[in-house]
């Protein structure tokens, strides 16, 4: 007789063991970051690849989100004569939530997938084994520089996204909604608090860690040729997005309380 609980049990065990493996992997990656040697050249190359080359996509996303947010808040605010709160809510929404989350989601697509594909291809073509036989720890050479670069550059990207996002809202508010430019900016700066920005930057650092770790984890454990690398890439993007959204709630709840 088929036990109806067996598939649920198997899925639960598989899920838990996957969490355990991912935790052990991130622990090993973190240990490789804090203990020497750190391959500085590799780290700087990854800062360029993950941080600098992500600027256009982050900037474009931020300006449109800021603009759309201003329009929506204006429409919503008009229902109870609160249109004047557009700059306040735009800056709050961008710095606390939309800046880090959208930057995280964009980078989950761009960076996590890229890392998974690159490391996955290295795995299936035995380049990672070759590195080990050349007395070089792949965790130090491949994974630690990527994880550290993503963790440090994502907050910088989010800071840029915050500024561009607020400017997107400003442009729409001033050019389409009839706001006074100087008053808009004054309201923005008077309303925003350091903790709003800090919350966003903390989230960004954690998201950067998640994005690079998930990409590296999926790539490192990929097998089965092109199909395996494809699967690793998909899992990296989906895993990063789910984890970013879940962790975003936890961090927000922690700061609010």
């Amino acid at each position: 007789m088929i036990n109806p609980f067996a598939p649920i049990g198997r899925a639960t065990i598989a899920f838990c063991s996957e969490i355990g493996r991912f935790s052990a992997f991130t622990g090993r990656a973190a240990a490789a970051i804090v203990s020497p040697p750190l391959f500085i050249g590799q780290f700087l190359r990854q800062c360029l690849a993950i941080g600098y080359y992500s600027l256009p996509v982050i900037g474009i996303t931020a300006v449109f989100i800021g603009a759309a947010l201003a329009l929506n808040i204006y429409v919503g605010g008009a229902r109870f004569n609160a249109e004047q709160f557009v700059p306040n809510i735009v800056v709050l929404g961008i710095t606390r939530e939309l800046g880090p989350v959208l930057a995280g989601l964009m980078l989950a697509g761009r960076v996590s997938a890229g890392i998974a594909a690159e490391i996955g291809t290295m795995r299936v073509t035995e380049q990672i084994d070759a590195m080990t036989t050349l007395s070089t720890d792949p965790f130090r050479f491949l994974i630690a520089p990527r994880v550290l670069a993503a963790t440090l550059t994502l907050p910088i990207l989010v800071l840029v996204a915050d500024i561009i996002g607020v400017m997107g809202g400003y442009l729409v508010a001033v050019n389409s909604l009839g706001f006074n430019g100087a008053a808009y900016l004054r309201n923005t700066f008077e309303f925003v608090e350091a903790q709003d920005v800090i919350l966003g930057l903390v989230k960004a650092g954690v998201f950067g860690f998640i994005i690079a770790s998930m990409g590296a984890y999926q790539g490192y454990h990929s097998s089965g040729g092109a199909l395996g690398v494809g699967r690793a890439t998909t899992n990296a993007v989906v895993g990063s997005i789910v984890l970013i959204l879940a962790v975003n709630y936890l961090i927000t709840a922690f700061f609010v309380e």
Binding site: Q127, D129, T132, T133, T136
Partner: protein
């Protein structure tokens, strides 16, 4: 005399299948051992267990008499410095130039200055008869034979004590394959190291081996000098050497 490398009772199960079921092997200094056997018989797994890329479920791997099977990672990394490996597909790093690939271990593990590492890489390229004109290109721009030469240069640059070759002639035309075989013989003699190779290619096995061992069903079923290969008296070896479909070994199709 202590063997450079010794495998004692190595067992390994993968995905519910007993791939290695008590493999015993040893290779001494200046000797070349070739492991032959059909596809899926565990040749690559044997090599990976010997190299430490895979942990055996049971058994021991001894390097110069020291058991490295369950050594901590840091100490094992030091043992790894005695090894050089030529992978089946060469496994060159796509993102680095040919000379950086060859000098990888010097730069990143031995902290040799890049200028000196480049000089040594180019010198090694000459040894394996790969033109230094290719030093600054990416591996993707090299032919299969040239990639094998670059892989061989990378394996020998740090003068290892034990060289491993995984299907060194697979995917090469017969003339290039023979040139690679010649290079393997020349380099192992020049370095005075022990060599362990796995291959299906009997011409390659005859050329590079002092001794041949046959792996079947996760065990060594025959071992002897290369000269005795045709008079082994072992039905499996005879079938494999003759390349016949009928015999004690069932073809997997």
């Amino acid at each position: 005399m202590t063997a450079k490398l010794q495998l004692i009772g190595i067992k390994k199960m993968l995905r519910g299948r007993q791939v290695l079921n008590g493999v015993d092997l040893d290779v001494h200094e200046r000797r070349s051992l070739v492991i032959i056997g059909g596809s899926g018989q565990g040749k690559s797994v044997t090599l990976k267990c010997a190299l430490g890329l895979m942990k055996p479920d049971a058994g021991q791997v001894l390097v110069d008499g020291a058991d490295v099977t369950r050594m901590p990672e840091e100490i094992r990394a030091r043992v790894m410095r005695k090894f050089g490996m030529l992978f089946q597909g060469a496994a060159l790093f796509d993102s680095l130039t040919v000379w950086e690939n060859i000098a990888f271990r010097l730069i990143y593990a031995d902290n040799v200055a890049r200028t000196e590492a480049r000089e040594r890489a180019i010198e090694t390229m000459r040894k394996v008869r790969l033109s230094p004109d290719f030093a600054d290109v990416r591996p993707i721009e090299l032919s299969g034979g040239m990639q094998k030469r670059a892989g061989l240069a990378r394996a020998i640059i740090a003068k290892p004590d034990i060289l491993f070759f995984d299907e060194p002639t697979t995917g090469l035309d017969p003339i290039t394959a023979d040139a690679i075989n010649d290079l393997i013989v020349e380099m192992t003699k020049e370095l005075g190291c022990a060599a362990v190779s796995i291959t299906h290619d009997m011409a390659s096995a005859r050329k590079i081996a002092d001794e041949i061992a046959m792996l079947h069903d996760g065990k060594i079923v025959w071992r002897g000098p290369t000269a005795s290969l045709d008079t082994s008296g072992n039905a499996m070896v005879e079938q494999f050497v003759a390349g016949r479909a009928d015999g004690p070994i069932q073809a997997v199709v």
